[in-house]
Amino acid sequence: MIFALCSNNFEDLSFATGVAESCGGSLVFEAKIASIFERCPDPASIEALFVSVDSESDLTDRLKELKSFDVGRVHFIFSGESSVGRQLFSNGIPANLIFKRFEDPAAEGRHYARVIRSRSASTFPSLRNLFPAASIHTLDLEDWIEKENVTDLILHQLIGIGCSERVSQTVSSAVDELLLNAFSSGLKRTTTGDTNDSAYGPSIQIQLGTEGEYVGVSVTSFSNSMDAKKILLDLGAAFDKVNAQGDTPKSSFGLGLALILRTGASLRFFCSSGRFAEVSIVFKKTQRLIDFRKQFQFVATQLVGSF
């Protein structure tokens, strides 16, 4: 496997090396994208291209340099400036963002490698795509009335696997937001409670797994009205809100995802329009919430089919 990094920064190099080594690949390191394409004449051979960006204008320049390269295989390492995320996702670009907030870049690279490996492994949503060695607990949800009970159950399961109470509360709040999104994203929901009602659904699956010091919780919604493009727009709106003060009630679009991003947890979206949307929360098992908020963070997207 070939990995590539376009950056001037040695922390980025350490991170990308960690990814490449973990995946058993080699790394091409250049300061310019054009130089990478010169060394790799067949762009399709590049498994993942890491690109350092510092600003919205920097991102615009890099996107032009990428030309027809599959943007789904681009992983932007950025300073956290929310306009970068907004620009990408609000324009329907299914890229990946890595927050430049490294504590141990090589180790964080090895952790991020799970996102890369899952891209080839993922044909159907499952937390096992991201956590192949984990023991996965699965819950199925049919009615939004069960939401609060399930959120509380996740809270207690997180405490049970050794997460602190505050971290568990934070993550279960994030799960609550994802369930809210899953049930309210234009999907049919029974008002009668009648399971024979043809409008009943969707079905939602929650999974929890842990591997070493990392934990994953995924919420998957199976529905034929799932719209991957809307999910990208929602993400773009979230980045619009993540650092700014929240706006008026009439525009709460993206607020839920913004609240999750502000916790410090990472998100990975795996969606297929008309079939499913899986959102996974990935985080390090810290005891203090301060440490949770400062942890290595990413937002990854993998969209399948047309969108």
Binding site: S164, E165, S173, S252, G256, L259
Partner: protein, 154 residues
């Protein structure tokens, strides 16, 4: 689900809220009918989601516009985080006291300490070490003071 309990013979009405603020919360049913001056105690609010934030803002905005006065006491950490992030959530002058979470390195439990708005300002100058309620070991503030108390500066 959110629960509201009125403390008898309190004036202004002291309402203790507990539970979760979310899309099921009916503020009018829970808080309406107590007059136009409220003292709301929030230590036991575990979490608030995005729809809960919207419903809270709608209710209290309407309450204020109709001449109501409200004070919030013992705001839980989730509400303090929301207060710092969301505009028009709670007015600074309405904050009577907040809860600050202290993490115990000995037993990993969290102790909530209550600070009035005036006492909270002192936390910005020096954060005390407190004793864990469970094991009595030293517990440290599990928040960055400047961020947690940002509302005091706004």
């Amino acid at each position: 689900m959110l629960f509201a309990q009125r403390v008898e013979n309190s004036s202004p009405p002291k309402i203790i809220l507990s539970g979760v603020i979310d899309e099921t919360t009916e503020f009018t049913r829970l808080l309406g009918g107590y007059g136009n001056s409220l003292a709301i105690y929030c230590k036991d609010i575990i979490r608030i989601n995005s729809v809960g934030i919207k419903l809270w803002r709608e209710f209290f905005s309407g309450f204020r516009k109709s001449g109501g006065k409200v004070s919030f006491f013992e705001l839980s950490p989730s509400l303090v985080a929301t207060l710092n992030y969301v505009s028009d959530f709670v007015n600074k002058s309405e904050v009577g006291s907040i809860c600050a979470p202290f993490h115990c390195r000995g037993c990993n439990s969290v102790t909530l300490k209550i600070y009035s708005a005036a006492e909270a300002k002192e936390l910005l100058k020096a954060v005390p070490i407190v004793n864990c309620e469970k094991c009595k070991s030293e517990a440290e503030l599990d928040e960055i003071p400047e961020e947690y108390l940002a509302f005091l500066s706004s």
